[in-house]
């Protein structure tokens, strides 16, 4: 039982990160109908910038309680700038192009960002310094540490703030309007370019936060870290119904749980024939299963009638 509880916690922590990154995919998709393949790299840049700022301040007299927020803001700022530029350079000129064209530019951006990160920050793994003592807590035999608790809490906080923003503010209303119908939104006096830019920047800010969470939790930062995370988060977004904010959160948490329970119990389920080596295959099988019964994801309503 405590093993099961531990696996739930493992999944929840992992899932919270997926959810934050998945939100970035889903927000862009909801508005532009575009898979922003470079989003994973934004997470990586966030982690790298945070690491750089922390290392710059570590030697100084600043206490950790100041260093962390400063690093956080530096990362968020850098990522927002990056998100804005990506949209301007690689996506906006292609808004009316055949719809696979932006997919290729996205892949191009992803390669460029990865290579630039490799040139700037080097090929090796970096340690992400531990700023605060990280204590473990015991819940009925299962263990969770401070960083993991913080991840879950911050993820919840950020997501509820985003929901408030989208559903309770003028800007949020404008975003929903653009997602619904771009030309009608123009007629309503909405500056859609601005709204789209802001969407990219918001998604990138979430990516920056996720990047710091991941680095703090695992203690390592690497220029290649964005790729896998981005892929998983994209999967999570689709699982929940891409374009749907609640879906991205649900999908993220579910994917985290599926992975950890899958890794923990596939062996038992198949009588030892398969093991945790089929963890990813299992996750994809669940995804395919869900999509067969709900072709637009768990919470997705609209059918994207394009190919």
């Amino acid at each position: 039982m405590e093993i099961f509880l531990q696996q739930l916690i493992n999944g929840l922590v992992q899932g919270s990160v997926y959810a934050l990154v998945a939100l970035g995919y889903t927000m862009v998709y909801g508005i532009l109908g575009l898979i922003n393949f470079a989003h994973g790299e934004v997470v990586m840049v966030g982690a790298m910038v945070a690491l750089m700022s922390i290392n710059a301040m570590l030697g100084s007299a600043f206490p950790p309680a100041i260093i962390l927020p400063v690093a956080l803001f530096a990362a968020i700022f850098a990522c927002m700038l990056l998100g804005y530029s990506i949209e301007r350079i690689a996506y906006r000129p292609l808004r009316h192009a055949p719809r696979l064209a932006p997919l290729i530019t996205a892949i191009g951006v992803s390669i460029v960002l990865q290579t630039l990160a490799m040139i700037i920050w080097g090929r090796e793994y970096h340690a992400f310094p531990q700023l605060f003592p990280n204590q473990s807590h015991n819940f009925g035999g299962a263990v969770i540490n401070d960083v993991q608790l913080a991840i879950i809490i911050i993820a919840l906080l950020v997501m509820s703030m985003l929901m408030l923003l989208v559903h309770r503010t003028r800007l949020g209303r404008a975003m929903r309007a653009v997602a619904e119908n771009q030309s009608a939104a123009i007629l309503m006096g909405i500056n859609i370019n601005q709204v789209i830019s802001i969407t990219f920047m918001l998604g990138s800010a979430l990516a920056a936060i996720a990047g710091i969470m991941v680095s703090a939790n695992y203690g390592v930062v690497h220029y290649y870290m964005g790729f896998m995370l981005g892929l998983k988060a994209f999967t999570a977004a689709v699982l929940g119904g891409i374009g749907n904010l609640r879906g991205a959160m649900l999908g993220g948490v579910l994917l985290g749980l599926i992975e950890s329970l899958g890794a923990g119990y596939i062996g038992t389920l198949t009588g030892g024939f398969m093991g945790s080596n089929y963890q990813d295959a299992f996750a994809f099988l669940v995804l395919i299963g869900v999509l067969i019964f709900r072709p637009s994801g768990l919470l997705g309503e609209r059918v994207a009638d394009r190919a």
């Binding site: 090796e124 990280n134 390592v220």
Partner: protein, 390 residues
């Protein structure tokens, strides 16, 4: 914008041509007084393993620079060595292209590749063209088992290393219930299999065999299920990028077992990045500790001065591999692959990693393996095993 691209592409192409011509021109230098010997190096210089690949290139470069400073003579001629380094991107397909390119450039020998997955397909091309290939780090048994006369390695293979590791775990560390994780790469799979064989043969029980990937950072799920089996030792067949978060998560989950890795874990990054969590963990490295070899400490010092970084992993092996190749050329009095290959096969050479002799397959004879432990954030050699024969 398109014009700029076009210009760039065509300029790149022109220079490409120019580069080819340069190689041709250089080969005509052989007719002069100096003998030009080209050594090819192949490793991933981009992608996730780029840092280790660059380290390999550095090791080879150092051997070549040393040889050039020393002014080595082969067959009565002064030799100028040239390094041709290629990026195989850890991709088996690119590896064969790179191999063919090195063959085209008329290299006299190749140091590489880093991985088994690239060394194996490339070895066929080197063999077809009679070019000796010494891999510094490919450990798959398969690599030298293909029957190619040109394939060598200066590193213990999986079976040699796995055997020693298994023995050490059971006999020296007294492990009875062992859990194993492998990263499902050619390296991790091979090492874990051989480790399991050896541990079982020595009377231990494998209570869990779990898996991860070489891109993962979260191991909490597999570690949790391993925790429930209560092992006294966890062996991970994989590299340090996974090892670091794994050992941290072990501690965080309260999994109290000894932690052990193969050569993929013996890196300065391991204790540096994992901090206290890495204390007391074990890792192995084929060969004898650098400090104990006559030229080892000197090599280490010069490497750090020259490249402004610590040795990552296999640089000493690349250094040795290159020097072995040069020594064979000197002995044969020729840099012609066909002439020095037989010498290479029967050479005995004192390297910085160990005494190097090849068996009939091209594997390292003897294959000493040293076990290290992290003590107070530093790797400390514990014991060198398997010195005498296989």
């Amino acid at each position: 914008m398109s014009r700029l691209l076009f210009t760039l592409v065509s300029a790149a192409f022109v220079f490409n041509l120019a580069a080819c011509n340069k190689a041709d021109r250089a080969s005509s230098a052989e007719n002069g007084n100096d003998l030009l010997v080209r050594i090819g190096a192949a490793a991933p210089l981009t992608g996730p393993q780029a840092h280790i690949g660059k380290d390999n290139e550095n090791g080879t470069r150092m051997a070549i620079d040393d040889a050039n400073t020393k002014g080595i003579m082969i067959g009565g001629k002064k030799v100028h060595f040239e390094l041709l380094s290629e990026d195989d991107q850890t991709d088996p397909k690119i590896a064969t292209i790179v191999a063919q390119k090195l063959v085209d450039a008329k290299v006299n020998g190749v140091i590489g590749h880093l991985n088994s997955g690239t060394s194996i397909p490339a070895s066929r091309i080197y063999s077809d063209n009679g070019i000796p290939q010494i891999s510094p780090s490919a450990t798959a048994v398969n690599y030298t088992a293909q029957g190619f006369k040109t394939a060598f390695r200066v590193m213990a293979n999986d079976s040699q290393q796995g055997k020693v590791l298994g023995e050490f775990a059971v006999k020296n560390l007294g492990a009875k219930n062992i859990a194993v994780i492998d990263d499902r790469t050619a390296y991790g799979q091979g090492l874990a299999e051989e480790f399991i064989k050896s541990a079982k043969a020595n009377g231990a029980q494998i209570v869990a065999h779990e898996y991860t990937t070489d891109k993962a950072v979260d191991f909490s799920a597999v570690l949790t299920s391993i925790k429930s089996k209560k092992p006294d030792l966890l062996f991970f067949g994989g590299m340090d990028p996974q090892g670091v978060p794994m050992v941290k998560q072990m501690k965080s989950l309260g999994l109290a077992a000894k932690f052990m890795m193969g050569d993929g874990g013996y890196t300065p990054k391991m204790p540096e990045l994992a901090g206290d969590a890495a204390n007391d963990m074990y890792a192995s490295l084929p060969g004898v500790p650098l400090e104990k070899m006559p030229n080892g400490p000197d090599f280490k010092k010069r490497y750090e001065e020259k490249f402004k970084q610590e040795i990552q992993l296999y640089a000493p092996y690349c250094y040795d591999a290159t020097n072995v190749m040069i020594a064979a050329m000197q002995k044969a009095g020729s840099a012609d692959p066909a002439k020095y290959l037989p010498e290479l096969a029967k050479l005995t050479f004192d390297g910085v990693t160990s005494k190097i002799t090849f068996d009939e397959k091209g594997d390292l004879k003897g294959g000493a393996v040293t076990l290290y432990q992290v003590q107070n954030g530093k790797w400390v050699p514990i014991e060198t095993l398997g010195m005498s024969g296989k």
